[in-house]
């Protein structure tokens, strides 16, 4: 849906995956925060969490802030990571500009790349 965000949660190889569709901005970001909190409660021992941006058509500093906060949280709890997959070049640029990449999250091109790396 234009101007809105849809969130759904599933597992791949026991790793929780958050699929996002639409736009993440100051209006929609609470849906993403809620999903992150839900995953942290449902998988209290998870070391990894995948966030799938395949169908994200817009993200700005609000969305990056939520993801960075989530990354800090999973680091603190389980020394874990948020793993971003399917970011478009535009979204990668935004992560670059933010200077956040080197912090507590990793970026993979595809879900299979992420799963291969995280399960080995």
């Amino acid at each position: 849906m234009v101007l809105d965000l849809n969130v759904s949660i599933r597992e791949n190889n026991s790793i929780p995956v958050i699929d996002l569709e639409g736009e993440i901005d100051v209006y929609t970001y609470p849906k993403l925060s809620d999903a992150l909190q839900y995953v942290f409660e449902t998988y209290p021992n998870a070391k990894d969490l995948i966030v799938n941006l395949d169908k994200i058509r817009y993200i700005d500093s609000t969305g990056l802030g939520v993801i960075a906060n989530g990354a800090n949280q999973i680091k603190k709890i389980n020394d874990g990571f948020i793993n971003i997959i399917n970011a478009t070049p535009q979204i990668k640029k935004i992560f670059d500009v933010s200077g956040l990449i080197s912090a507590n999250f990793k970026i993979f091109d595809s879900e299979s790349d992420a799963i291969t790396s995280l399960t080995k």
């Binding site: 100051v26 700005d60 802030g65």
Partner: protein, 135 residues
């Protein structure tokens, strides 16, 4: 030069509407797809700040003026809120881990646009964003 003016209430609901309007206007100019995405983010960051910081608990208006030139798009985003001290407020961000914001909004505007100017006082804030058309 052509002006298009949009006024919205300072509610998060309508930042996406500004983005749509901005992308429509940018589409009528010779911007690349990437330029248009940059413009959408920068104008959203400015509006998001006006929504989050300008008015406290009682929303006011945000006025967005798009000025279309042959060789550039200039966007002025104005609120009549409380203003801020641009040097002080941006520095203290890292000391306040409670805040959702990471101090990225102004960083994004500066890196995505060709020119960013802040005019802020107790009577409100105006951000001027400029993106040049590369031809």
């Amino acid at each position: 030069m052509t002006n298009i003016k949009l006024t919205i209430p300072s509610l998060s609901d309508y930042v996406g509407v500004v983005r749509l309007t901005a992308s429509g206007i940018a589409n009528r100019m010779k911007f690349t797809h990437e330029d248009i995405e940059d413009i959408k983010i920068a104008v959203s960051e400015a509006c998001t700040n006006a929504v989050q910081y300008a008015y406290g608990d009682s929303p006011g208006d945000i006025e967005i003026v798009f000025s279309i030139f042959e060789d550039k798009l200039e966007i002025k985003i104005s609120d009549s809120g409380k203003g801020f001290d641009i040097d002080a407020d941006v520095k203290t961000k890292e000391d306040d881990p409670e805040k959702i914001g990471l101090g990225l909004g102004i960083v994004f505007m500066r890196s995505l646009m060709d020119h960013v100017d802040y005019d802020t006082s107790v009577n409100g804030t105006t951000v001027t964003l400029v993106k040049k058309v590369i031809s």
